[in-house]
């Protein structure tokens, strides 16, 4: 009886010791592998992505693209939706850090109020890549787009539609995004930097329609009453420009008024192909999402990344609309 007990004890002890040694071994192995560069080894890199909202097709496309790129490069990705709530975003980031991520991709709800999340990442020694919107504080890298350049492209197209540089003539109605928004200001300033040089052009600045079609339709109905002699509509995004198109169709004025938008919404690209819409400007979320993941993985491996990665833009008009149109994607993708 006593003997068997002793025997049992012995077995237990050896198992314990063995497992301790084993644990010690594997514990010592992992850092060594990490020091060796972290690629092709057993451990997958984990990306944490805190996106601003999932209630907009642009941001869901951004999330999908990030997931696809992570899978392609063999990394894991955790995505959290801040639901436009800065407190939730700060908490989400802290939770992801606790869970264990190697790099953070952040689309900040607010450029300054996201500081607690940035602090937490700094303490945990995790590189931060901001995407789509920058933060006030400096981070490892910002992957975004120059909205001013997009406004300029739209402006140049407007000038050429109204007669070309130096000769352009006509009245433009501008349907604006959200009051005080950075993107809205850039798309406004970029456009005006080009258009205001033309003495023959007058621009009527319409009310803010928050990038929402339903609001733009109402505003444009009123504007069309006040300015029936309008020659061109410029909207800060395609959703609002499509609202203006709807009003023009109802008033049988589609052939009299040109429309220029921004974003490259597939619906707008289709309207360009159908000849009802003049032009839009690329704002491809897929390219931006995959670039963000690519940059994040480089940063996680300790490679040098540049402070600003431009996701690029370009014009879509009747010459290239057919090539970039896709019935399944919400936004036109850059080749």
């Amino acid at each position: 009886m006593l003997k068997t007990l002793k025997k049992g004890k012995f077995v237990l002890l050896t198992t314990l010791a063995a497992s301790l040694v084993f644990a010690g071994c594997s514990g010592g192995e992992q850092p060594a592998a990490d020091a060796g560069g972290g690629d092709d080894s057993s451990k997958k890199l984990v990306i944490g992505f805190s996106n601003v909202t999932s209630e907009s097709p642009f941001y869901t496309a951004l999330t999908d693209a990030a997931k696809a790129e992570a899978e392609k490069q063999g990394a894991d990705i955790i995505v959290m939706d801040a639901q436009n709530n800065i407190e939730k975003q700060n908490a989400d980031v802290q939770d992801m850090i606790t869970k264990g991520i190697d790099v953070l991709i952040l689309n900040p709800t607010n450029p300054t109020a996201v500081t607690p999340a940035l602090e937490a990442a700094k303490q945990a020694n995790i590189p931060v890549i901001t995407v789509d919107r920058p933060t006030e504080a400096k981070v490892t890298s910002f992957v975004g787009r120059d909205n001013k350049a997009m406004g300029e492209i739209a402006g140049k197209q407007a000038v050429s539609l109204l007669g070309g540089e130096g000769k352009a003539k006509g009245k433009i109605i501008e349907i604006q995004g959200d009051a005080g928004g950075k993107v809205m200001m850039d798309r406004h300033d970029g456009f005006h930097a080009v258009v205001d040089k033309e003495p023959g052009i007058t621009v009527v600045e319409g009310p803010y329609s928050d990038y929402v079609r339903a609001k733009a339709v109402k505003a444009f109905q009123d504007l069309l009453q006040a300015h029936p002699d309008v020659n061109l509509v410029y909207a800060h995004n395609d959703d609002m420009a499509l609202g203006a198109l709807q009003v023009l169709e109802q008033n049988n004025m589609v052939d009299k008024v040109k429309i220029v938008g921004i974003d490259g919404l597939s619906e707008a690209v289709k309207a360009i192909i159908d000849g009802k819409y003049s032009a839009t400007v690329f704002n491809d979320p897929v390219k931006m999402g995959s670039l963000a993941v690519d940059t994040a993985l480089k940063a996680a491996k300790g490679e040098q990344v540049s402070e600003y990665v431009d996701a690029g833009t370009g014009l879509i008009d009747s010459t290239n609309a057919k090539d970039v149109y896709s019935e399944t994607a919400v936004f036109a993708e850059m080749k």
Binding site: S54, E55, S56, P57, Y59, T60, A179, V204, E205, G206, P207, Y208, V212, R213, A214, V217, K218, A219, Q221, D222, L223, Q225, A226, L242, G243, Q246, Q250, S266, E267, K270, V330
Partner: protein, 323 residues
């Protein structure tokens, strides 16, 4: 005898003026704005502008009719915007497979079911309607987003664009709004169903004692609200030629403001759809005037807030004067 008579003749004119003001102060306000609008902008008094106003008000207006029913029985419905979006998505997704008729019916039925859940949870489980419909507002929005993973449905077929078009030069959506308003006025004023709703809103206990099935009637107002929100969703989707899961967010506030502006009391038992109609029109008119003048939306928001409070103060003042 004689003494009583003189008192009656003295009291009568002031009473009538009070009643007149109380009943029509909103219409007077509308007249004031029509005058201001036509003085400030030559385009304001055009026929086209009024047709535009009708179309711009229709979606909020249809939603507000349903909310008026709910508020008359002292309830509230915050879920209208989300139900609107969900029904719009249901229609947009079904259209290519079933054709417009089935898609419309399914969308309206889905709105009615969500409304019924609102009513059932509020009355049978005695959860305050503010909370019930707040929960539905969040849940139905989630459902709408889930249907397509947040993506809008565009390229709606030509068959549904009917609601965004004109009939005899008048926007179809506006005609629907006017027709529904007339039906609702009739139902509330001239049917036993309508009178029972006022009785329930005025005093649910005594209504119950007189044998009215209070819970059933209250639940039915939420079904009406859900179905009308769904109809508004169909109208909006076909007008904008797109089904958007984010459609109608914030519309509950505009609609409730219009209902209250129209003289329906949040305490229940008082008010009607006619006032709501004018309330919605007044709010659209203010935005319209600001847009025609090219004034900033900041001023619009400030002014809208002031007008809502002013109209209510005016209402209260006139009622107190009368008493």
């Amino acid at each position: 005898m004689e003494y009583v008579k003189t008192e009656a003749t003295q009291a009568k004119p002031s009473f009538q003026l009070g009643a007149f003001l109380r009943k029509y102060n909103l219409l007077l306000l509308v007249l004031v704005f029509i005058v201001i609008g036509s003085l400030l902008s030559p385009k304001f008094l055009s026929v086209q502008n009024f047709l535009n106003l009708l179309q711009q008000s229709a979606v909020t207006g249809i939603v507000a009719i349903g909310i008026t029913f709910v508020i008359i029985v002292a309830g509230i419905d915050l879920s209208v915007g989300s139900v609107l979006a969900f029904a719009g998505m249901v229609m947009a997704l079904l259209l290519p497979h079933t054709g417009p008729f089935v898609a419309f019916l399914a969308a309206i039925a889905s709105g009615a079911v969500l409304g019924w859940i609102n009513g059932f949870v509020s009355t049978r489980l005695t959860i305050p309607p503010f909370i019930t419909t707040l929960a539905m507002m969040v849940a139905a929005r989630g459902l709408a987003l889930l249907l397509t993973d947040g993506k809008p449905v565009f390229n709606l077929p030509e068959s549904v664009r009917f609601f965004g078009k004109n009939l005899f030069g008048i926007p179809v959506s506006g005609l629907i709004w006017i027709a529904l308003t007339l039906i609702a006025i009739f139902v509330l004023r001239y049917t036993t169903f309508g009178r029972k709703l006022y009785a329930i809103g005025g005093n649910p206990q005594s209504a119950h004692l007189t044998g009215i099935e209070v819970n059933r009637y209250i639940t039915f107002t939420y079904v009406i609200s859900g179905a009308l929100s769904a109809l508004a969703g169909i109208v909006l989707a076909s007008w904008l030629t797109v089904g958007q899961p984010t459609a109608g967010s914030g519309i509950e506030l505009d609609a409730i403001a219009a209902v209250v502006l129209g003289g329906t009391s949040l305490m229940g038992g008082v008010g009607g759809v006619g006032g709501t109609f004018v309330g919605v029109l007044l709010m659209s008119m203010i935005t319209n005037i600001f847009n025609l003048l090219g004034l900033s939306s900041y001023f619009q928001s400030i002014f809208m807030g002031i007008i809502i409070v002013l109209a209510l103060v005016l209402n209260k003042f006139v009622i107190q004067k009368k008493q």
